[in-house]
Symmetry: C2
Subunit: 348 residues, 2 copies
């Protein structure tokens, strides 16, 4: 996948850098881990430090000093999950900041403006993430909104995407815009959503509204239903998923891109992913365990530190605990994708 | 200074790794920064994870994966500053843990046993840190205790120091023990303390009980008084001091070793040290400042990140804020010492 800042090998896992930082992991470590693309959250960056400030700093890449690829979400998901007192109309969403209660109004056009100011390699259409469970009528109404907003997002983005901060510097290359398939757990709605988005000709397509509480079989069925409807020559991105076994399975099903806060969030709670399964580093049984987190892992944490030390750091609430746990979990997720990529390569 | 795990170039600044971690900075970064020796706090490590556990893990070096030199304090300072309900007798100090209220009893012999189990390259005699201000009679009584405890520390350490975890592995090399000069701000007491410790023949000597609230002139006078009394062929360590201008001045006065929590603690509060003076990275005026923290600094933070980004991280309470701020401040402190070392070298 050719992006303005990086040619990305797919399938790829994208660490989540909500506020312009993958929590507790520095950019040079992300590079060492082989992260090719990271995600930024439009909602958070819009509120703090503000997209106009980031534009003046030359865009998100320069602001956070990340030379590789980036993707921003549309802000929609966080508006619906984090903000208070939101009110949805056809025009957009008014909401209050979860930080200071200040009032804001997001339309598809505004989401595009914010994302173009941030200047990630990939922006996402403004959508409504349909909750689970949702009645069919509710899912239908939600999808109607998402489809109308997709059209408006695309039109506004196509008309203005030359304004991203680095467009000139990178010889006229500019930001990609992906559409987001919604439709809840209803096959026909998902199908309709996919087909209409493909007609609009986005630069890539995402499957949204999954991993929001539905049973895993439904997640998989929905992915299996939607994937064949999306053009194979454009990136297919499954949003906000999931556990290691899931991301491996979905990558093998044909998903090109995935993101999830799980590796870093779980790390901060002491949950580590290993080739032998999950491990809660807080457990007493690791107190004197001199082995690495994962004997098969070659990451900088497993090469240097013992389970006993990591447990001690967690017990003490030391910052290094979150740092090292996050590095290991990210290495594990990125390693899964690397294995899948190798296994999918045609033999030479 | 030849130590079992590292030949240390002096004067040297020792980052403080209270609980077996220099807060928010990983060991590989400390190595990159050129840290030659780090400090561990006996009181904290004794309470958590416990010195016997660390002994079973092969000692502190192995437990935290730090191959270079380490020093542990005696625990005395924290017993007096952190613990609750302490009661001092000639035999030792009974106190309650600040963590869980559990009861403990430290004697000079016990402090030595704990420090030998931890197995740093340098252990410190058990002392009472005389508070400031202190009446002369109080300083005198405190010094009497410290001197008696120094004798007992030395005797117990000399008789048992072959038991440190790595003694055999390192061909019979073993732990050093330093005595600590106390005496408050009374010249005659300081002099008496220094002379009596030198007679006992420790492996090195520390000046304790400074930077505890006394005016800076008194700190300097005391150092100037004590330093000439200490043998020049043994390391001279000034404990718990101080600001950048102080550590430079004291290094030039002949102090070989210093430690202080200031660079890392200040970093977590957004106070950064630079060649242009102190800088509070939270300040609004850095919101769009694309320059590095310190234009003259070659550390990995100044080479990559802007003040604007560091301010943003701090505003958001992001973990990376503490990480990057700490790295810069440590680089600054270590850089001061490197400059002093170079300027003190005989010209070639």
């Amino acid at each position: 996948m050719q992006l303005p800042h990086q040619t990305v090998q797919t399938p790829v896992f994208m660490p989540v850098g909500t506020a312009g930082t993958v929590k507790a992991v520095s950019q040079d470590v992300l590079e060492t881990l082989g992260a090719q693309i990271i995600l930024g959250n439009t909602y958070h960056l819009y509120l703090r430090p503000g997209h106009e400030l980031i534009r003046r700093m030359g865009g998100l890449h320069k602001f956070i000093s990340w030379p590789r690829a980036m993707l921003t979400d549309s802000g929609g998901y966080q508006v619906f999950s984090l903000s208070k007192l939101r009110k949805v109309t056809d025009n957009g969403v008014s909401f209050r900041s979860h930080l200071d209660g200040s009032s804001h109004f997001f339309t598809p056009e505004h989401s595009m403006d914010v994302q173009m100011a941030l200047g990630a390699d990939i922006a996402m259409a403004f959508d409504e993430c349909t909750e689970y469970p949702a009645e069919k009528s509710r899912a239908q109404e939600s999808l109607r909104l998402t489809m109308a907003w997709a059209r408006r997002s695309l039109d506004h983005h196509r008309a203005n995407r030359h304004t991203v901060p680095w467009c000139e510097e990178l010889g006229g290359q500019t930001q990609n815009l992906f559409g987001i398939v919604q439709g809840g757990t209803y096959r026909d709605l998902r199908r309709e959503s996919a087909e209409r988005l493909v007609e609009m000709e986005f630069d890539g397509y995402a499957i949204g509204g999954l991993s929001v509480g539905e049973p895993r079989e439904l997640t998989m069925e929905t992915i299996a239903e939607v994937l064949p409807l999306l053009p194979a020559d454009k990136p297919r991105y499954l949003m906000g998923v999931g556990y290691p076994d899931e991301i491996e399975m979905y990558a093998r099903m044909g998903v090109d891109m995935m993101d999830c806060v799980l590796p870093t969030r779980a790390a901060r709670h002491g949950l580590l992913f290993t080739s032998e399964g999950r491990l809660n580093i807080k457990a007493k049984r690791y107190a004197e365990d001199q082995g690495p987190v994962d004997p098969e892992c070659t990451c900088m944490v497993c090469q240097r530190y013992s389970r006993a030390y990591l447990r001690h750091l967690m017990q003490c609430g030391e910052a290094l605990s979150g740092i090292l746990n996050s590095i290991h979990n990210l290495a594990y997720y990125l390693g899964i994708m690397e294995r899948v990529r190798k296994s999918l390569q045609p033999e030479g």
